[in-house]
């Protein structure tokens, strides 16, 4: 049996299966989509995609398939080439598993929506774009997927389009992603002009890449993966329904930027400027997001900032020149982050739309399955030993500790790890423990298997995924084997310190001291003052300059200054200069005349 044929066939079959709900209604008169058919399609695709993953794990086979070529110029080829390497073959089952669970959950969550089939359709189109991005071997196909996920993100965030904040959030997502796209197009243009190809195999032959295209790629990743500087769209994207937050803004779309950097990492390997930039940017992002998450009170915003923080950590891993480890963190993070969002969705629906953790409490007794899975997800997020997050997160911190790179970035990452533990514990304590503060008359119900099955499946994934992936994939770089005990246990020590800090803060909230605003809390609550500063300042400068150019320049300059006024000003200047020259010393002038005449007469 030809393994290569099986591998290629099953991968392309997966892609074909998920496009069927879009194509079949166009071809047949009677076929109608429904949420259940779409969920079952994605489940089928997941089961099919397990075959190439198994083939890869047991035989290490990778393949690149090139299909039809877009011939619009003679020497520039753009084929539809699909790269089935460890990244795409591992990502497909994970993305499809998470999507299947989210779609099953969404059949309950969005049951009261009039246009639920359109919602599932949008999620399916997003999934197709994301998988296209993953499997692309050339930057053109990747760009198609990149833009596709951006558009679907816009449509899904603004799903409830009558809500003003949802529309602004969708616009924010589009604009910030567009700024990142400038970088991607820059790199694509550079690549096309120097290497004359967009194929990844052919483009990575040079040993030294100049920094400019790498800066472009980093800008693209900053925009798409919400690194510091282009990050505000991610917390704002929580305006979309919870399945959208779970799928797009935690597991799949936001990792597209990091995935781009993983795919193009041969270009980065020898360029230390770019690597250091990634490292420092990632460290700053992870600390900033973790700081913001501590004082948030909306449960979805806490998880959104947590996503932002973990994306910063992935960027740090790219900066350490460890793309495989970054991919491992993407994979494990997908499981527990999607599960955290689904649990929060179950809690929100059970409390009749309440999203503020100040009005939740004691849910451990009321929603046992959901809160148990929430706890498992939080423990995995914190990097509890031997859960999923441990394998990736602990390895990242160990590699960082044993490398001879930026200590400042290391300190920031450790601080962010402890803050992760802090806000996670705070969320757990306020949501699950203590006396209840929920509003009265809440339809608390988790007896539906469409809620519990996805969450428990993802919980199983959160526990097992780390172990499974690390045992089945052979790392290309040797992980650090020996290090001092303190370095080895650094991550767990800072996590414990973070938990202690959270318990202290929680005790303080019980004490009878009147809480007040202070500078640190204000910084964290207003998300670092970033949003009003950039959003208002940028628009204000742009509009001011526009007004100056459009009206003031024409009227003031051409009509006034060039014509009458400036002429009059020039007159005044000449008059003033000559007045200063006219000092009025007649005797001195006569004396100088007489002296010069005497000198001339004498010289003759």
């Amino acid at each position: 049996m030809d393994t290569a044929l099986l591998l290629n066939t099953t991968m392309i079959l997966t892609l074909t299966v998920i496009t069927t709900p879009i194509l079949l209604p166009l071809l047949s008169q009677t076929f109608q989509n429904s949420p259940t058919t779409i969920t079952r399609t994605v489940k089928t695709a997941f089961l099919i995609s397990l075959v190439p993953m198994a083939i890869f794990i047991y035989s290490g086979m990778e393949s690149i398939t090139s299909n039809w070529e877009w011939k619009f110029t003679m020497n520039f080829k753009i084929p539809i080439s699909l790269k089935m390497d460890q990244y795409s073959m591992m990502f497909f089952p994970i993305a499809l598993f998470v999507t299947w669970s989210i779609l099953q959950f969404a059949t309950w969550y969005m049951a009261t929506e009039p246009y639920i089939t359109k919602f599932f359709y949008y999620l399916l189109v997003f999934l197709i774009a994301m998988l296209t991005l993953t499997i692309a071997n050339n930057l053109f196909l990747l760009f198609i997927g990149w833009e596709g996920v951006g558009i679907m993100s816009f449509l899904l965030i603004g799903w409830w389009q009558a809500r003003a904040e949802a529309n602004t959030a969708a616009l924010q997502a589009i604009i910030y992603n567009r700024i990142g796209d400038i970088g991607l197009i820059l790199s694509m243009a550079w690549l096309a002009s120097t290497m004359n190809t967009w194929e990844m195999q052919q483009a990575f032959t040079a040993t030294q890449t100049p920094t400019l295209p790498l800066l472009g790629l980093i800008l693209a990743a900053t925009g798409k993966s919400a690194q510091f500087g282009l990050h505000p769209w991610l917390p704002a994207a929580m305006e979309g329904p919870t399945p959208v937050s779970a799928l797009l803004h935690s597991s799949t779309m936001v990792v597209a930027g990091i995935f781009l950097l993983i795919r193009t990492h041969p270009m980065f390997t020898n360029n230390h400027t770019a690597l250091t930039l990634c490292l420092c940017l990632g460290a700053l992002s992870t600390l900033f997001a973790a700081t913001c998450a501590i004082t948030q009170n909306d449960i979805k915003k806490i998880i959104a900032f947590s996503t932002s923080s973990q994306l910063g950590l992935m960027m740090v891993t790219i900066g350490l020149n460890l793309p495989q480890l970054a991919f491992l963190h993407i994979s494990t993070h997908a499981f527990f982050k999607a599960m955290l969002f689904l649990c929060s969705g179950a809690i929100i629906h059970s409390l009749n739309g309440e999203q503020d953790i100040r009005k939740m409490g004691g849910l451990q007794k009321m929603l046992p399955t959901t809160t148990s899975c929430l706890t498992i997800g939080n423990l995995a997020l914190m990097g509890t030993p031997f859960l999923a997050g441990f394998y990736s997160k602990d390895l990242i911190i160990e590699s960082m500790n044993t490398s001879y790179l930026n200590t400042w970035a290391l300190l920031l990452t450790l601080l962010a790890t402890s803050f992760t533990a802090t806000y996670t514990t705070r969320m757990t304590l306020l949501v699950q423990t203590g006396f209840t503060r929920i509003p009265t008359t809440t339809p608390i119900n988790e007896n539906n298997h469409t809620i519990t099955n996805p969450i428990t499946r993802l919980a199983l994934g959160s526990i097992m995924a780390g172990l499974f992936i690390t045992t089945s994939i052979i790392p290309t770089t040797t992980p650090p084997m020996t290090m001092p005990t303190f370095t080895k246990t650094a991550a767990i020590i800072v996590t414990t310190l973070g938990i202690i800090l959270a318990l202290e803060l929680s005790t303080m909230t019980h004490m009878l001291t009147h809480p007040k605003q202070n500078a640190m809390m204000n910084f964290s609550s207003t998300l670092g003052y970033f949003n009003p500063l950039t959003h208002r300042l940028a628009s204000l400068t742009l509009l001011n300059n526009g007004q100056k150019l459009a009206s003031h320049l024409t009227d003031l300059f051409w009509y006034k200054k060039m014509g009458p006024e400036d002429f009059a000003d020039l007159q005044v200047i000449t008059a003033k200069t000559t007045t200063t020259l006219h000092t009025g010393l007649i005797k001195t002038y006569l004396g100088s005349f007489a002296l010069s005449i005497i000198l001339i007469l004498l010289s003759h």
């Binding site: 009261t112 009039p114 409830w160 389009q161 009558a162 809500r163 003003a164 949802a166 004082t295 948030q296 009170n297 909306d298 009749n352 739309g353 309440e354 999203q355 503020d356 100040r358 009005k359 306020l430 203590g434 006396f435 503060r437 909230t509 019980h510 004490m511 009878l512 009147h514 809480p515 007040k516 605003q517 809390m521 204000n522 609550s525 207003t526």
Partner: protein, 178 residues
């Protein structure tokens, strides 16, 4: 008696609004109910201490000082109920709330899906046209000269009449659409 509405707020209204919003922000600060109750009682005592001040100048100064104290002590993320303006599900379903006159533009095949409603719809519309003048007349008679006192509409006064603006009430959209 009925509460009055006018173009300006009375001193009492301003004080009560300050009290309510400071209680809400206190609730955002003090998450646990027992702690909140303790500080809410202290706040109430502070308001009650000055409740019998008759001098309006002094009362206004106290109110101004109270507003300033509120501004410095407010919570950066106050708790807002989900359906209130600024809340998480405010205006969320407005995209599904279509006005009822769109029903007149439905295709006959679509109208055939709800035969009972559309069979009687013309009669209801005729009833609305007939009672409109009477509703307007009642509203004009019952509104005082310098503007309405409350937002509540009066009930129908004569037997056989319908309450004013009943059509807007009967055809209002659902809160959460199906």
């Amino acid at each position: 008696g009925q509460p009055d509405m006018a173009a300006y707020l009375t001193h009492q209204q301003k004080v009560l609004r300050l009290y309510k919003k400071s209680l809400r922000h206190l609730e955002s600060w003090c998450i646990y109910r027992d702690k909140y109750r303790y500080f809410a009682c202290l706040l109430r005592e502070r308001f009650d201490k000055n409740k019998d001040v008759k001098d309006m100048v002094k009362a206004t100064e106290l109110l101004k000082a109270g507003e300033e104290e509120f501004w410095t002590n407010q919570h950066p993320q106050p708790y807002i109920f989900p359906d209130s303006p600024g809340g998480t599900s405010y205006e969320r379903y407005d995209c599904y709330k279509i006005p009822e006159w769109c029903l007149d533009f439905w295709h006959p095949s679509e109208k055939a899906m709800y035969p009972d409603y559309f069979a009687k719809r013309e009669q209801w519309k005729k009833l609305q046209r007939e009672s409109w003048d009477k509703e307007l007349k009642q509203l004009e008679e019952e509104t005082p000269a310098d503007g309405p006192r409350t937002e509540a509409l009066p009930p129908a006064r004569k037997p056989g009449h319908l309450p004013p603006l009943w059509w807007q009430y009967v055809t209002r959209p659902r809160e959460i659409p199906m």
